[in-house]
C-alpha cells in the first residue's frame, strides 16, 4: 500500500496527529465551502503544496497515490455528463450541453479533487495507528477502535498469507483458465475464512495471557510541541476556509 510508505517516513511523521487532523478537516470544509472553480483550484493547490513542500512527500509518489482516485473521478464525472433520452428518437444517450449543468459538473469535480487532496494530506503523513489513537481522543467507541486496531494489524498478516497461497497455486497452474482460476480463488478464500477463526482464537488466548479482559488498551505517546502544532494547524485551517469562502 502506497500511503503506508510515506506515512511512516515523511517529514511530518512526528507532528501531532491532532494538528494534522484539524488541518485535514479544515481542508474538507474549505473544499465543500468553495463556491467557484477558482476557489476550488486554490484549495487544491494549497493542500497539495502543503503535502509536497511541507511534509516532503515526493511529487511522483503523491501522484501515484492519487491517480486511481482521479481515474475513478473521471469516470464518475463522465456518468454525470451524459443524459438519457426517452423515446425522442436518435441516440438514447447524449452528452450534456446545458452550460448550467456543465458548470455544476465542474463544481462537483473541483470539490471532489479538493476533498481528495485533504484526505491525501492526512493519509500520506499519518500512520493508521496514529489516526486510531486520534479517534480514541475523539471518543469513538472502544469496540470500533478495537476493530480498527485488529483490522490494521491483521490485514498485513492475511495479505501475506494470500500471497503465499497465490504463488503456490500459480506454480501448480491453478490460474490458467477462468474456471480453474475461480476454483483456485474459491479455495484460497475458503482457506482464509478458516484462518479467521484460527487466528482470532490464537489472538484471544494471547490477549488473555497478557492479562486482557476487556477493550484493547495501549499507551499513548505524546507528540513533542503538539500545542504549537495544533495552534498553527488551526490558524492555517481557518485561513484556508476563509480563502475558500471569500474568493469569488
Amino acid at each position: 500500500m502506497l500511503t503506508e510508505q510515506s506515512a511512516y517516513t515523511n517529514r511530518w511523521r512526528w507532528v501531532s496527529p491532532t494538528a494534522k487532523g484539524i488541518f485535514t478537516c479544515s481542508g474538507l470544509v474549505a473544499a465543500c465551502a468553495a463556491t467557484s472553480p477558482r476557489a476550488s483550484l486554490l484549495v487544491i493547490t494549497l493542500l497539495m503544496a502543503t503535502a509536497i513542500f511541507g511534509a516532503g512527500i515526493p511529487i511522483t509518489h503523491y501522484l501515484r497515490v492519487g491517480a486511481p482516485a482521479m481515474l475513478f473521478l473521471g469516470a464518475s464525472c463522465l456518468s454525470l455528463l451524459v443524459t438519457l433520452n426517452f423515446g425522442s428518437g436518435g441516440s438514447p444517450l447524449t452528452l450534456q450541453s446545458n452550460p448550467d449543468e456543465l458548470s455544476r459538473i465542474v463544481h462537483i469535480c473541483g470539490r471532489s479533487c479538493a476533498c481528495l487532496a485533504a484526505l491525501l494530506l492526512l493519509t500520506l503523513t499519518t500512520p493508521l495507528s496514529d489516526i486510531i489513537s486520534l479517534l480514541r481522543r475523539c471518543r469513538v467507541p472502544d469496540t470500533l477502535l478495537d476493530l480498527m486496531t485488529l483490522c490494521y494489524r491483521t490485514l498485513f498478516v492475511l495479505s501475506a498469507a494470500i500471497h503465499e497461497t497465490l504463488t503456490a497455486q500459480s506454480a501448480r497452474l491453478g490460474h490458467s483458465t477462468v474456471t480453474q482460476s475461480l476454483r483456485s480463488l474459491g479455495g484460497l478464500v475458503a482457506n482464509l475464512t478458516i484462518q479467521v477463526w484460527q487466528r482470532s482464537q490464537a489472538l484471544h488466548i494471547a490477549a488473555l495471557a497478557r492479562n486482557n479482559d476487556g477493550a484493547l488498551r495501549f499507551l499513548e505517546y505524546p507528540f513533542a510541541r503538539s500545542a504549537r502544532h495544533i495552534t498553527l494547524a488551526s490558524g492555517a485551517g481557518i485561513t484556508l476556509i476563509l480563502l475558500a469562502v471569500l474568493i469569488p
Binding site: 511512516y8 493508521l128 494489524r153 486482557n212
Partner: protein, 285 residues
C-alpha cells in the same frame, strides 16, 4: 521459599473434542533455573504451558505456584498471569497493535499501572531485547526474528517472575538464535525463571539447567540434561541424542576422555576448547 516455583500434581487435560492431551502429568519447575521442555510433536508441551498461566484448567489434578494452589477466580488469574508470562510460537498471533511501542504497552496497561511506570517498562523491555532502535517501525515491516523479540518485550514489560516460551528458536536463522540466546541469558541473569519448549536438542543440552522430557501427555524424565538426555528411553522418545554427547561418546571409544577436569562439554564452543585442551596435553607430556 521453596525451590519449586510452579508444580503440577497429577494433571490431566482433555480437549473438548476428546483428545487426552495430558494424562496424570506431575512435574516441577524450579526457581531461577533454565528449564527446557522436550518431547515429540503432540507430546503435550503446548497444552502443559497453557496450564501454567491458567489459560487452560486441568480436568483433574492440581497446579501450585509457590506451593499455593492455583486460584481460577478473576483476581487469582490476574495475579497468576502477571507473574507467569507466556510467549507463543507465532508472533503474528500475539501482536495486537501495528505499533511496536503500543503493543509492548498492552500488558502493562492491562495491569492498570500508571503512565510513567508503563513508559519506563516499555523502554526497558525494548532495550532488553535490543529493539529500542526499531520502536517506531510498524510491526508489519519487521522481520520474523524482530517480531519475535517484540513478543518477548511485551511479556517482559509485565515484569513476570517466570517467562515461558513455546519454541522460541523455530524459524530463526543461526545469528538470530544466538542473539535470542543472549537475550534469554541476560533475563536469566536478572533473576527470571525461564522455561522453553524446544525440538532443538543441542540447544537444550547446552543451555538448560534442567530438562523435562514429555511423552504422550505425561512426564517421561527430568533432571540435568547430561543425566537424562543420554538415557535410552529418552533417546527413543525424542528420536535422537544431542550431537555433542554423541561426539563425546565416539571420542571416548577411541580412548579420548574429555572428562579431564570432571566436566563434560555441553556446547560446541566448549567441545572445541576441550578437544584443544586434550591435544595440547598430549603434545606436552
Amino acid at each position: 521459599m521453596s525451590d519449586a516455583i510452579i508444580r503440577l500434581e497429577n494433571v490431566s487435560y482433555r480437549y473438548p473434542d476428546g483428545t487426552a492431551a495430558l494424562t496424570d502429568c506431575s512435574l516441577t519447575i524450579n526457581r531461577n533455573k533454565r528449564t527446557a521442555v522436550l518431547g515429540a510433536n503432540g507430546a503435550g508441551k503446548t497444552t502443559m504451558f497453557l496450564h501454567l498461566n491458567g489459560i487452560l484448567q486441568p480436568s483433574s489434578g492440581r497446579l501450585f505456584r509457590d506451593d499455593i494452589p492455583f486460584e481460577y477466580s478473576r483476581t487469582g488469574l490476574r495475579k497468576l498471569r502477571s507473574k507467569v508470562g507466556m510467549v507463543f510460537q507465532n508472533p503474528d498471533s500475539q501482536l495486537f497493535s501495528a505499533s511496536v511501542q503500543e503493543d509492548v504497552s498492552f500488558g502493562p496497561m492491562n495491569l492498570g499501572l500508571d503512565t510513567t511506570t508503563i513508559r519506563r517498562r516499555v523502554a526497558e523491555a525494548l532495550g532488553a531485547v535490543a529493539m529500542a532502535g526499531l520502536a517506531d517501525k510498524p510491526v508489519h515491516n519487521l522481520s520474523y526474528g524482530q517480531k519475535k523479540r517484540v513478543c518477548i518485550a511485551g511479556v517482559l514489560a509485565m515484569e513476570p517472575e517466570v517467562i515461558i516460551l513455546d519454541e522460541p528458536m523455530a524459524g530463526l536463522d543461526a545469528a538470530m538464535q544466538e542473539e535470542l540466546t543472549a537475550v534469554l541469558e541476560r533475563l536469566h541473569a536478572g533473576g527470571i525463571t525461564i522455561v522453553i519448549a524446544t525440538h532443538d536438542l543441542d540447544f537444550a543440552y547446552g543451555w538448560a539447567d534442567q530438562a523435562l522430557v514429555m511423552q504422550s501427555g505425561g512426564l517421561l524424565a527430568h533432571g540435568t540434561p547430561e543425566d537424562i538426555l543420554l538415557r535410552p528411553e529418552v533417546g527413543n522418545a525424542l528420536g535422537t541424542i544431542p550431537q555433542i554427547a554423541e561426539i563425546i561418546h565416539s571420542l571416548s571409544l577411541l580412548g579420548i576422555d574429555l572428562r579431564g577436569n570432571g566436566y563434560l562439554p555441553r556446547t560446541r564452543n566448549e567441545l572445541v576448547a576441550a578437544i584443544a585442551a586434550v591435544t595440547t596435553r598430549e603434545d606436552t607430556p
